[in-house]
């Protein structure tokens, strides 16, 4: 979109894409022709020192800029009177602006960051032509609902994205000199420095009625366990009584941590506030949305992910992948972040900054995880984050405590696994586990998967064995086949550590002292066992030549959870 420099009667200057609109509403009288990208204008206006520059100074600066960047603009740079009878007027009247700028449109753009790439989709949702949307958005800017930002702004020696705040960008030569495309948030539609972003101020509109919708009783078809109800009450306390902005729910794997946020969400929805439930992966999002929708059946639960078409209706409750958070600005009163330590959220500064932008100043954040990262635990220690524990699984059995076996698994120096005493010992243990149920064998690297599948197939001739890893083209197939019980054993890398429930599963972790395994990975892998009420127990083996710190920590974490559960009286008497 091209912006023009406008000048009003008092000599104030500002950029605008539609001079005619500003004449109508702000009394602007002249504009500089030609139009340029907003970033270009901002950069060259910055160079002018005078507080209230004269027309000539601006004109000189902009033509100098155009010449310097080598753009071959054919016409003359000049100040023009804004012509009230220009073709824009007809364009604007056709839109019938005032009428379209109604509450539904404003609630759609409230709290959003809208890039030019999203304009066609939003225009489609509104049922207007794509060319009309920028006019409408600019009217919203004039009326103070938001502002225009350049896609990227130039910093001292680089560019910074206005959507994700990242400085990782690709520069390229353009008509206006150097331009850049942000690489940090490319996956949800690229932004370039030649484009603009509409950013809503996200403030409460005046005269907006706090809607207290008639809320039917939530459709609760399950019961909280004692551990869950304690944790849920704790969260309500955090929301209502505490001034801390963040809370961490440290749950055992498979404890039902999603459900304990429902009472909090319910309270927010009844107050007419907006809630976001974010998870790092698409499959989790698509799994949780139906559950929330079933429970909060009187509200619409919106889903946002790369898989579904953009939905622009304003909803009190949104479920989204973490990348989608970048599309919001000061939009939510409560953000719940599921599995915050899972890829791609873990250690991703862009997404972390995205959360802090999407939350309102008065908003609160709840992190849910089984394996909190060090940074969040540090926050807890500094009293910046409230900690709630959910130590017991819903079926009331303690978490299976991993056993450490001091057996050095065969090395893979020769390219294939050779028979050795340690291999035979491992075979005996795996055999034992397979009596109990299906077996996960975790190995640290992709290259080991194939070799172990081969070795184990020759050891267990009567068992069906498969392997899978993160970029395996057959991954989905293999995993669904394993879950449905077509295989006895799966050799895999840590891809399967999260979110998969197989009844009667057993776990063996080979090379558990490997540098790639940290305490969180080990705890998650151990958490695959005993997730169903029908088979609440099972065995977890950590097999390695030495007991690393991560192994010790993982065993301690799990024991701690069990102890807490026992203290709280959440465990079933046996």
């Amino acid at each position: 979109m091209l912006f023009y420099i406008l000048r009003d009667k008092e000599g104030g200057i500002y950029p605008s894409p539609f001079p005619f609109l500003d004449k109508l509403y702000n009394g602007a009288c002249s504009y500089l022709y030609p139009g340029c990208p907003l970033e270009f204008i901002k950069r060259y206006l910055q160079d002018i020192n005078a507080l209230m520059p004269s027309q000539n100074e601006i004109l000189r600066e902009i033509s100098r800029g155009l010449k310097k960047e080598g753009s071959l603009f054919p016409g003359q740079v000049q100040w023009l009177e804004i012509d009230a009878s220009s073709s824009y007027k007809e364009e604007c009247q056709k839109v019938d602006l005032e009428k379209k700028l109604e509450a539904s449109f404003l609630s759609m753009i409230e709290g959003r960051l809208i890039t030019e790439g999203e304009f066609p989709s939003l225009a489609g949702a509104l049922g207007i032509r794509a060319a009309e949307l920028p006019v409408l958005l600019h009217l919203a800017v004039i009326k103070g609902y938001g502002e225009w930002r350049p896609g990227l702004t130039r910093t001292n020696n680089s560019w910074r994205c206005e959507r994700c705040g990242d400085e990782n960008c690709q520069r390229w030569p353009s008509y206006y000199g150097e331009a850049a495309t942000c690489l940090g948030c490319k996956s949800i539609g690229p932004v370039t420095s030649l484009q603009v972003i509409f950013r809503s101020y996200g403030k409460e509109r005046q005269g907006r009625k706090k809607k207290r919708e008639e809320h039917t009783q939530p459709n609760q078809d399950w019961q909280f366990t004692p551990a869950q109800s304690v944790a849920a009450a704790d969260l309500l306390l955090f929301i209502n009584k505490l001034t801390v902005k963040e809370a961490l729910v440290w749950a055992a794997c498979g404890a039902g941590k999603t459900e304990i946020t429902f009472p909090v969400i319910e309270q927010y929805l009844q107050e007419g506030k907006r809630v976001l439930y974010a998870a790092p992966r698409q499959d989790v999002v698509h799994d949780i949305q139906p559950r929330l929708q079933r429970y909060f059946n009187s509200y619409k639960v919106k889903i946002m992910s790369g898989l579904v078409q953009a939905d622009w209706t304003a909803c009190p409750l949104t479920v989204a992948t973490t990348h989608q958070i970048l599309k919001f600005y000061r939009a939510f009163d409560l953000i719940i972040l599921d599995e915050m330590d899972a890829y791609p959220y873990a250690d991703n500064r862009v997404l972390e900054a995205g959360i802090n932008r999407a939350i309102k100043n008065s908003g609160k954040i709840i992190y849910l995880t089984a394996t909190p990262s060090d940074s969040v635990l540090q926050k807890v220690r500094r009293w910046e984050c409230y900690l709630t524990r959910l130590p017991a699984r819903f079926h009331g059995y303690p978490l299976p405590v991993p056993e450490f076996l001091k057996i050095e698994p065969p090395r893979l120096d020769l390219g294939r696994i050779t028979y050795s005493r340690s291999l035979l010992a491992i075979r005996d243990y795996l055999q034992e586990l397979m009596f109990e149920g299906q077996l996960f064998v975790f190995v640290p690297t992709i290259s080991m998967v194939g070799k172990w599948v081969e070795a184990l197939s020759s050891l267990f001739k009567d068992k069906k064995i498969t392997g899978s890893w993160s970029s395996d083209p057959e991954r989905k197939n293999n995993v669904t086949n394993f879950i449905s019980g077509n295989y006895d054993l799966i050799v895999c890398t840590s891809i399967l550590e999260r979110g998969i429930t197989v009844p009667k599963a057993q776990v063996a972790v080979l090379y558990a002292d490997h540098a790639l395994y940290d305490v969180r990975t080990l705890v998650q892998m151990a958490g695959r066992v005993g997730r169903t009420a029908a088979s609440p127990q099972g065995r977890v083996l950590f097999i390695a030549g030495r007991q690393s710190k991560a192994i010790k920590d993982a065993i301690r974490w799990i024991k701690d959870q069990n102890e807490l559960a026992a203290q709280g009286g959440f465990l079933r008497d046996r």
Binding site: M1, Q170, R171, V191
Partner: protein, 253 residues
């Protein structure tokens, strides 16, 4: 239980891993992914996509660039005389569909012209294999208004890549005088009419007797490149060849 050597061992491990990190700074193997489908691949575009979209074994219609199925070298439309008249040969790099279409859209509409550089080698070798070497390479121009809005001309990017790699001079000598409706929005007959006398040569440019490569992103009816070629021929160009990124497939009844 707490025996000393373990501590020493961990120090060794730390030292070794630090050494490995430093070594990786010098011997760095980049993990590559296919530009089109995103699967791991050894080269810029994986062999599957290469076969699917670039079809190096298929003939192109020499007068309009369409990909042909039946081994001939001209499509039926052009045989009937509907094709452009002033072009000596046209070649296209790939089939304009699927991931390749998406890729071209990313370049054109989504502000990522730099993506083309990753394919520079492939594009150049294909072009020079198909067309005789020219005196200069000329991009199809955008109207100044559209150029101001988009900020770059994708044909210009492509032409400058070819010119740079081949060491042939790049000349931006054409001018678009009419701000026409985008061709993508029109049907065949409208496309042809839309472009009537939309191009001109920049004043003071001499191309008398030169052989020229004309470069554009997509060719559908070949109306744009045909119109440009007419202007170039009118001002004395001896031969005009065209190179495009994508074209359709001939549909046989």
């Amino acid at each position: 239980m707490n025996w000393q050597p373990k501590e020493d061992f961990s120090v060794t491990v730390k030292l070794l891993s630090a050494a490995k990190e430093i070594a990786e700074m010098f011997w760095h193997e980049e993990s590559k992914y296919c530009l089109l489908c995103g699967m791991p691949s050894s080269s810029g575009v994986c062999s599957n996509c290469n076969k699917l979209y670039f079809c190096p074994e298929q003939q192109r219609c020499f007068s309009c660039g369409k990909l042909l199925e039946n081994g001939s070298n001209q499509c039926q439309d052009c045989r009937k005389g509907h094709g452009p008249k002033f072009l000596d040969k046209v070649t296209t790099f790939g089939y304009y569909g699927g991931a390749w279409k998406q890729f071209i859209h990313n370049i054109k509409y989504k502000g990522q012209p730099y993506l083309l550089f990753a394919l520079a080698q492939d594009l150049t070798s294909w072009a020079i294999k198909q067309l005789p070497p020219p005196d200069c390479i000329v991009p199809v121009p955008l109207h100044p208004n559209r150029l101001a809005l988009r900020g770059f001309n994708q044909a210009e990017v492509l032409a400058s890549i070819l010119a740079g790699y081949l060491g042939i001079s790049f000349k931006d000598i054409l001018l678009r005088t009419k701000d026409t409706t985008p061709q993508a929005a029109l049907g065949r007959q409208e496309r042809l009419a839309n472009l009537k006398s939309a191009f001109d040569l920049k004043p003071g440019v001499l191309i008398e007797g030169e052989e020229i490569w004309l470069v554009d992103d997509v060719v559908t009816t070949a109306a744009t490149i045909g119109e440009c070629a007419e202007v170039l021929k009118k001002f004395g160009a001896r031969k005009v060849y065209a190179f495009c990124l994508g074209a359709g497939r001939e549909k046989l009844e």
